[in-house]
Symmetry: C2
C-alpha cells in the first residue's frame, strides 16, 4: 500500500485526482498504475485499470487469479467491474468513496453474482489515503 | 447498430465472444471496437472500452458528451462504469445480458447516483444481436 500511496502522490503532482494502485503476485509487483485521465485524455485511465493493463502484459494473460491489488481509494463501477473481469483474488483498498465507491458504498458489485469476486479488505491505511485526496481538493478550492 | 453487428461477427470469426460497439457524434463514427480479450490478453478489452478508447483519441478528450454508443450486448459492470465515466449521452444496446448486464438486468448502474448517466434504449435489433451470441456458444459446445 505504501507504493500505491507514492503513486497517488505522483498523480497529485501532475494535477490528476490522486489515486494509486499496485498488483502483487507471490510478493512481487507485477503491475502498477496511477490516475492519468487528464494526461492520457482517456476516461478509462484510472489507477486500477492502468495496473490491470500492466499486470496482464507482465503475465501475458488476462486472468489475474492469485494476484492482489492494493489501491488507495475504493474502486468506482468501471474499476470494480475490471477487477471482477480480471479475476483478481484479493482487493485491498484504503479510503472509502461514499459517493461513487462500488465495493461497499454506493454499490456492492463484488457481492458474488457477477463472475468471481475477490476477497476484500477495505479501510487499510485509510487515514493516509484519505489525506492525500483531501489535500488535493483543498488546494484546488484555494486556487 | 448494423456496423456494431458486423464488428461482433468479426470477433466471432477470431474466436472471441462476439460483441461489437460503435460511438457516433453528429452522425459520424468517431470510435469503434470489438471484444479482443483473448487476442490482446487484456481483461479490459471489451467492445465498449475499445470504442471509448478510440473515441477519446479521435476527440483528444476523455469527455464524450454529445456522443451515442451502439453496442450489441448489454454492458457489464466495467463497461457500464466506463460509459458513465466518459459521460456518453446516449446508450443503445441490443441483447439483454440477464446474468451480467449492469444497465437493466443484474444491476442498474445508470440509475443516476453515479455521475451523469446516459439516456438508454435497450433491446434494439435484439434478435439479430442475440443470434450472433447464440450461434457462437452453440459452435463452442459442439466442438
Amino acid at each position: 500500500m505504501i507504493r500505491a500511496i507514492e503513486l497517488a502522490r505522483e498523480s497529485a503532482q501532475e494535477g490528476e485526482i490522486p489515486v494509486g494502485a499496485v498488483i502483487v503476485k507471490n510478493n512481487e509487483i507485477i503491475g502498477e498504475g496511477r490516475n492519468m485521465r487528464e494526461a492520457k485524455k482517456s476516461a478509462l485511465s484510472h489507477a486500477e485499470t492502468e495496473a490491470i493493463f500492466a499486470a496482464n502484459k507482465t503475465l501475458c494473460d488476462w486472468r489475474l487469479d492469485g494476484c492482489e491489488m492494493y489501491v488507495t481509494l475504493e474502486p468506482c463501477a468501471m474499476c470494480a467491474g475490471a477487477i471482477i473481469n480480471s479475476r483478481l483474488s484479493t482487493l485491498i483498498f484504503g479510503a472509502y468513496d461514499l459517493e461513487r465507491g462500488c465495493i461497499d458504498s454506493a454499490y456492492n458489485l463484488c457481492s458474488g453474482t457477477l463472475g468471481t469476486p475477490p476477497e476484500i479488505y477495505g479501510g487499510i491505511m485509510e487515514d493516509e489515503c484519505r489525506e492525500i485526496l483531501r489535500n488535493f481538493f483543498e488546494k484546488i478550492r484555494n486556487k
